[in-house]
């Protein structure tokens, strides 16, 4: 993973993957796409929860705002998907900032409760603002993205689009969290008083984390709207927020590959367990409990301790 060649190999493999998968079927390709959407969501939430240490429970709200913004712009403004994508990212980023401003004064549980409330408020706005969102009826008939006059219809095209978006998200978030900004965020997460005493002002950094996280959730939302071509309020419930948070924690907080792993696990597991019928969700819950008992830092979380922040092996730090 750390080596350049390894990264290229993974990207190359992901590009070739659908050629293999398409031989199998569209369903698996669809699951790969869903994994991509959740990978973006968990990566973006990881910035808030993992790096900034802000226990936020309303991520589905940002996802929903992104989806609705893109849907409304494409339906009423007949804008292209690409413009809608950028607008969705900008609008949700702004909402992240708006939510961030009052809640950065809160910590821990209180923050969790306020963000939970935010998520519910947003969902209720989707339900009740009938003139704009058509309420619970949702917005059908969202056009598919098109590139150079060619409209996306095949799953494979959507797969490459989400792959590009995941890579872009990974690249940008990776660069940010592995820069001085990321180091400052981690310092704030570990000890806010200490951070202040060495001259790091927590508030701008927390706000940055909120708007960055929200912004990418908006990207995922815009993609979802265009992919499914229909948005409705019950796609963005409290349960979805919890699910995304579970991906971050299961994969390992403050670990980007961990977030992707978390997304893969929590999207794949319920699908693989379909044969269990009634016991499916129970078994999944059990697996998560076991996981938290035996591996509380998540699957990829421990890596974090073996390497220091700049990706160097710890022995460099020890001297």
């Amino acid at each position: 993973m750390r080596s350049r060649a390894g990264r290229f190999a993974i990207v190359g493999l992901l590009i070739l993957l659908p050629l293999l998968l398409q031989q199998i079927d569209d369903y698996i390709l669809h699951i790969a796409i869903i994994i991509g959407i959740y990978a973006i969501l968990s990566l973006s939430l990881n910035v808030i929860v993992g790096y900034a240490g802000q226990f936020a429970l309303g991520h589905a709200a940002f996802y929903g705002i992104g989806a609705y913004t893109a849907a409304l712009i494409m339906l009423h403004g007949s804008a292209s998907f690409w413009l809608a994508l950028a607008a969705a990212a900008a609008v949700t980023g702004l909402f992240g900032l708006l939510l961030g401003s009052p809640v950065i004064r809160l910590r821990g549980d209180y923050l969790g409760i306020v963000t939970l409330g935010f998520g519910e408020i947003v969902r209720l706005i989707f339900v009740n603002w009938v003139d704009v969102t058509r309420g619970p009826m949702g917005l059908p008939g969202i056009p598919a993205p098109s590139l150079f006059g060619h409209a996306f219809t095949e799953k494979i095209e959507f797969y490459y689009l989400i792959l590009a978006l995941v890579l872009l998200t990974y690249f940008i978030i990776n660069r940010i969290v592995h820069s001085g900004i990321g180091l400052n965020l981690l310092t704030i997460r570990e000890d806010e008083t200490l951070a202040q005493s060495v001259g790091i002002r927590p508030n701008p950094y927390k706000l940055l984390a909120f708007s960055l996280g929200a912004c990418f959730a908006g990207v995922a939302g815009a993609y979802w709207a265009a992919y499914i071509s229909y948005v409705s309020p019950d796609s963005f419930r409290y349960l979805d927020s919890v699910n995304i948070l579970a991906m971050v924690i299961l994969g390992g907080t403050a670990s980007l590959p961990g977030s992707i792993l978390g997304a893969i696990l929590l999207v794949l597991a319920p699908e693989i367990l379909r044969y269990m019928n009634d016991y499916r969700m129970m078994l999944l819950g059990l697996a998560i409990i076991l996981m938290m008992i035996f591996k509380p830092s998540g699957f990829w979380g421990e890596k974090h301790r073996k390497y220091n922040f700049y990706g160097l092996a710890q022995k460099g730090g020890r001297k």
């Binding site: 079927d25 569209d26 369903y27 669809h30 699951i31 869903i34 339900v127 009740n128 009938v130 309420g135 619970p136 009826m137 949702g138 059908p140 219809t153 499914i228 071509s229 229909y230 409705s232 019950d234 796609s235 419930r237 349960l239 979805d240 597991a269 319920p270 699908e271 693989i272 367990l273 379909r274 044969y275 019928n277 009634d278 499916r280 969700m281 078994l283 697996a287 076991l290 996981m291 008992i293 035996f294 591996k295």
Partner: protein
Amino acid sequence: MKKTGSILASIALAASLLAGCSANGGKQDADGAIQIGLAAPISGTQAQYGEAFKNGAELAAKQVNDAGGIDGKKVKIVIQDDKGDPHEAVNVANKFVTDKDILAVVGHFNSSATLATAPIYNKNKIVEISPSSSAPAVTNAGEYTFRVITTDAFQAAYLADWSKELGYRKVALIYEQSDFGLGLLDVYKEAAPKNNIEIVAAESYNPGDKDFSTVLTKIKEKQPDAIFIGGFYNEAALIAQQAQKLGLKTDYIGVDSLYSEALLELGGDAVENMKLIGFFYPGGDNEEATKFAEAYQTAYNSKPDTYAAYAYVATSVVIEAIKHNGADREKIKEYLKTLHDYKGPTGVLSFDENGDVVTTPERLTIRNGAFELYQ
């Protein structure tokens, strides 16, 4: 300790994966059977309806199989859980369309799930027949999307006509803040002036609300001839009881979603004389309904609800299509397009050019704590 943990975890995961593979492999055993998909909320907050769906659909398959199947082939219902969540529903839809053995899909429960999955079913040219999605938008969802429940629009318009016949002049509306409630509200409001009805109040509530005293106090001042309830039986029973306590004397009229034994149990004498329409009314003129209720009672030892009946009808028409036109996805659609006056437990039904059902409801009322036909 840590190592043991990770080994345990990986074993557990590997085991479930392997089990998944073998379950997929096992599918080939069912080769030759005619497979119909059923997408329903088996888990989650709407699991009770998922159960009704499952029972209704499986009863339809069982009856055909007991009679020798279709050309000697057994009918098998393949159930997938959509949790009533559009995300899951889309996964299920993709799973069904890629499985070439699935000939048609009965589902989904929620209108939002049906609408989210409609593009997938239509693109892959497979019939999706919803037993319960009554949102008006489903009408235009595509030529492969059918439903055996009437639209909310139809019910509201029908009730507006009936209100006129009952001589109501001033009607207050209480509706659920959902696609369902809003749809009813719109149509009833629109039809009111034509029927000489004045809407004196329109108040909404959220599903699950328990206290209606504020709403009812407001309505009491207007002295309506009747209250139109656009919601479900739980709230309807509470509304009637709380109105009784407030001394509000008025008639009630409502849609088929009120029609449930639970309304009688919860409402007691407050719901006496409530007028509602129903499609599935066993013990009345419709013999099919009575037969279905008896078969259901024998099979599951419980009374069927409306959704079980709808799921039974949806599955039955698909089976009917396969019987007549053969086991082919496209031909099932063609058959359904031409289906005319099919007699089932929810009445005599046909499909219009949009795949919406055309049928006439029964007029019901509550007398002495039981539903009976309104005379």
